[in-house]
Symmetry: C2
Subunit: 305 residues, 2 copies
């Protein structure tokens, strides 16, 4: 039976392309494998797929009991199909904190490392096989690293991620600044999305002090494109929170080039969050948070109500 | 702050000695680390510690919030100190199925592999450093593998475990059959333990069909020593189940040399378990299950009520 490889339900570059990379590797080892996505890849991931000649992987909405699968870029059952604990999970490869909840029927291969990017870890696990990868696979890995590190600007970046990206770029004869600018331009092209889609595009649920937040991040080189829509985005937050069973949506618009985030402040709860979590002084309905780029490393650990 | 390395609450050879092995390795990498045990090591583990010149690690009963630690040989919070999710877990190295429940504050190193023995995985993770290990550390790793594989008889044994044990034995000039016999004799020396202690010595809780079982295993080269106490063991099961909040204790006496298990059958529930799970025909208060040696690989996956 074909082994399915997939990431989480909000397919960004790392989740989408890491699935393709690992499926390629499994096939070289004699295991028939195919990548899947659990949603529509974001605009950056779509650009990367096209740039390196891949079709968008088929959509997986349900997983059959006993289906062999490998999970990349998450260990959170809330970000996976409902039946995941009844599937035949063969491996989990991730770089997020262990959240608990995922169970396996027997001992399997689980590898989690505090790297910026799942694809960096895949490259390590492939060992010598990584050297034999075709350019398209190397290009996906490079793209994942540039995406997750925001071209090495994010504090999640490790020397291992950076060194690998630079080596791959040299192999591929790619100029990193120009290529990353193309990727970020693709990610910033969000005009076609509704407000609700923007709020859910890169969003994770966290509970702090009994309040259920949907913590949404939009990484962009063109923050004004998003911020010009702030009134309708703030109005949409009420519906999104209600539909998703959350108390409040927090939207951080991350300015990749200026290395800062703008938090939308629709109400007193969010104002309190900005003040207590980031020591910010809030006067209007947005507040700039200098240096804030990473949900994992900077936003979530700081969150207070 | 010193990093504490420990296994689960029923310290057998692998849990006890893997903690010592990894603490040694961390110290060679510049991280100050010490092994701990979460209970009294079993008689085999005590023999192995003495054989290779180690004192019993200090007992850890509570873990302070923020205490740096590495967990080996389990990922089950029920087998760890109550405050474990508030500790600073730096790594988890294990060979059991993912049970869920353990959480970490950020991304950390987690490595789980379907090997027979945690120490085999530690040896892999140490890389070249494993070659520089002193004989005492190599002796601990060899002992862990022989213990967890029952000298390669258990179906959990992988070629990787076996090849490493044979290499280490050659390095150390140890004859495996004679050394394993000494270890198993130590494990079989259970005369000083009360019935309740025997039932809890190597025991894991599993819920099947709404029934909470305490699945206890005693691996021995002298099954008659245990089976001669079967009446008082069966009487003690009632108290142990009640005290531990379980519905039923199942005791499998594993005959290492004859590669079979004897299940004690105190009541109809256990008779049904024996029949449905193992296709056994039960006539008295014990039943022999040929070939059954591994709780992880044979007993738990088969369990039905």
């Amino acid at each position: 039976m074909t082994t399915l490889v997939f990431g989480h339900k909000s397919p960004d570059t790392d989740a989408t392309c890491s699935a393709l990379v690992w499926a390629w590797y499994l096939n070289t080892t004699g295991t028939t494998a195919e990548a899947r996505v659990l949603g529509t890849p974001n605009t950056e991931a779509a650009f990367v797929l096209g740039r390196w000649g891949f079709d968008t992987p088929a959509l997986l909405t349900e997983i059959a009991a006993g289906q062999p699968c490998v999970i990349v870029d998450t260990n959170n059952p809330a970000e996976l199909p409902a039946g995941i604990n009844d599937a035949d999970i063969q491996a989990i490869i991730d770089h997020h904190k262990l959240v608990g909840g995922l169970e396996t029927k027997g001992p399997i291969d689980i590898t989690i490392r505090p790297l910026a990017c799942t694809a960096t870890l895949l490259h390590q696990l492939m060992g010598d096989a990584a050297e034999t990868a075709p350019d398209a696979i190397k290009g996906l890995i490079l793209s994942c690293i540039l995406s997750d590190t925001l071209e090495f600007r994010s504090p999640t970046t490790t020397p291992v991620d950076r060194a690998l990206a630079e080596k791959l770029a040299a192999d591929l004869n790619i100029a990193i600044p120009a290529y990353a600018a193309e990727m970020f331009a693709a990610k910033s092209d969000v005009s076609r999305f509704s407000d609700a889609e923007l709020l859910r595009m890169d969003s994770k649920e966290y509970t702090v002090g009994g309040v259920d937040f949907r913590v949404s991040v939009l990484e962009t080189t063109s923050p004004q494109t998003v911020l010009s829509r702030k009134d309708s985005l703030m109005a949409s937050m009420l519906d999104v929170a209600k539909e998703d069973g959350a108390d409040q949506v927090l939207l951080f618009v991350v300015d990749i080039l200026n290395e800062e985030a703008t938090l939308l402040v629709p109400n007193d709860l969010t104002k309190t969050v900005a003040e207590k979590s980031f020591g910010a002084t809030v006067t209007g309905d947005t507040v700039v948070l200098p240096g804030i780029m990473s949900r994992k490393k900077q936003i979530i650990p700081a969150l207070k109500v």
